[in-house]
């Protein structure tokens, strides 16, 4: 129960970071924190029903649920790909506007002739 409360706090920190932080690199930090918090939630919930790692050595019984683990492999890699692309775009935004502040970028880029 306490773990779930802590995880919800971690999730909200990630979401807060995306909304409130002005610096786009910090927004990307927050996005990767948000992604990690969901991954931890899946693995934490999945490990409640077993006591062994899902490697079927001889006589291994009562194994943890492997499905969420397989799903989270994909989710982690997708999260990192999105982060890498976001950073490349942030890099190009910096080269145009020389700032990471989202409001300044909005001001500079919004009314420039397309």
């Amino acid at each position: 129960m306490i773990e779930r409360i802590l995880l919800i706090i971690l999730f909200l920190i990630g979401f807060y970071g995306i909304i409130a932080k002005k610096n786009i690199i910090k927004k990307i930090f927050a996005l990767s924190i948000l992604n990690s918090s969901v991954v931890i939630l899946f693995i934490l919930e999945g490990s409640k029903i077993g006591t062994n790692a899902p490697i079927m050595e001889e006589g291994v019984k009562n194994v943890v649920d492997p499905i969420p683990q397989a799903l989270m492999l994909t989710a982690i890699v997708i999260g990192v790909c999105i982060t890498a692309l976001a950073l490349a775009i942030a890099f190009r935004l910096y080269r145009y506007t020389h700032t990471f502040d989202i409001d300044e970028i909005h001001r500079k880029l919004h009314d420039e002739p397309f």
Partner: protein, 249 residues
């Protein structure tokens, strides 16, 4: 956090969306229903028999739900090629030979713009091959011990980056060449598509295991998929990381 001139409207927006999100998350986070062991029981008994892999996670990841893995490799491929094209169009001088323009073939000398420290040379230069071997181990033994295509590929990528960092003199190994990595990645993707199609002629359907007819244990198919994904991911991420180490004027 130093409070700056955050306008009231801004704080109101933040608080409102946070409470809305919290309200939506509570029922899902705190539902008292116990975790289903339906799939776990099925896999515990016939996971090993059906897919032949001792590591259940890689049996799901490359056997039962192989289509997700194909989607994931495509996401990685698009991310790497997208990042490279976004960066190289900005005129940033990437590490030699990595830019969009196909510059003439020339030896790839060490990445300038780094202050070479003894620590860097000793650690990365010597550690490169060891990390590479560990990455290959992860890839090839993915079905027995924890590991698999992706993890092995990423470790191989960091091995390649170590060797690229560590090479002081012009003794650049062919592994760091931009062209070589791009070629490995493209052929890896080709073999992945061919491997996933290989089940169709035998009548086992898409992503079907072509060897399931023969008495060879089905795990060979998982090993093949593991190595293909490992090489593709290793070359792709290695390509991106080395390109990023280029000199920034």
């Amino acid at each position: 956090m130093k409070k700056k001139k955050y306008s009231i409207f801004f704080i109101f927006q933040i608080v409102l969306s946070l409470t809305a999100v919290l309200a939506v998350l509570l029922p899902v986070f705190f539902s008292r229903v116990s975790w289903p062991d339906l799939a776990r029981n099925y896999l515990e008994y016939n996971g090993l028999k059906e897919s032949g892999a001792r590591n259940l996670v890689s049996s799901i990841y490359l056997g039962y739900r192989a289509f997700d893995t194909l989607g994931e490799t495509i996401v990685l491929l698009v991310a790497v090629s997208g990042t490279i094209s976004i960066i190289s169009h900005s005129g940033l001088s990437l590490a030699k030979g990595f830019g969009e323009e196909k510059s003439k073939k020339q030896t790839y000398n060490s990445i300038s713009g780094f202050n070479r420290t003894e620590l860097l040379d000793v650690v990365t230069g010597k550690l490169g091959p060891i990390v590479l071997i560990f990455g290959l181990y992860l890839m090839l033994f993915g079905h027995l011990s924890p590991g698999g295509g992706f993890q092995g590929g990423v470790v191989v990528a960091s091995g390649i980056v170590f060797m690229a960092l560590g090479s002081k003199t012009d003794s650049s190994t062919w592994l760091q060449e931009a062209g070589v990595l791009a070629k490995i990645e493209a052929t890896g993707f080709l073999f992945l598509i061919l491997a996933s199609l290989s089940g169709i002629p035998g009548g086992f359907g898409f992503f079907g295991n072509p060897l399931s007819g023969t008495e060879a244990s089905p795990v060979i198919y998982i090993i093949i998929l593991n190595t293909i994904i490992g090489l593709k991911v290793g070359a792709g991420i290695g390509f991106m990381c080395i390109a990023m180490l280029g000199k920034v004027e």
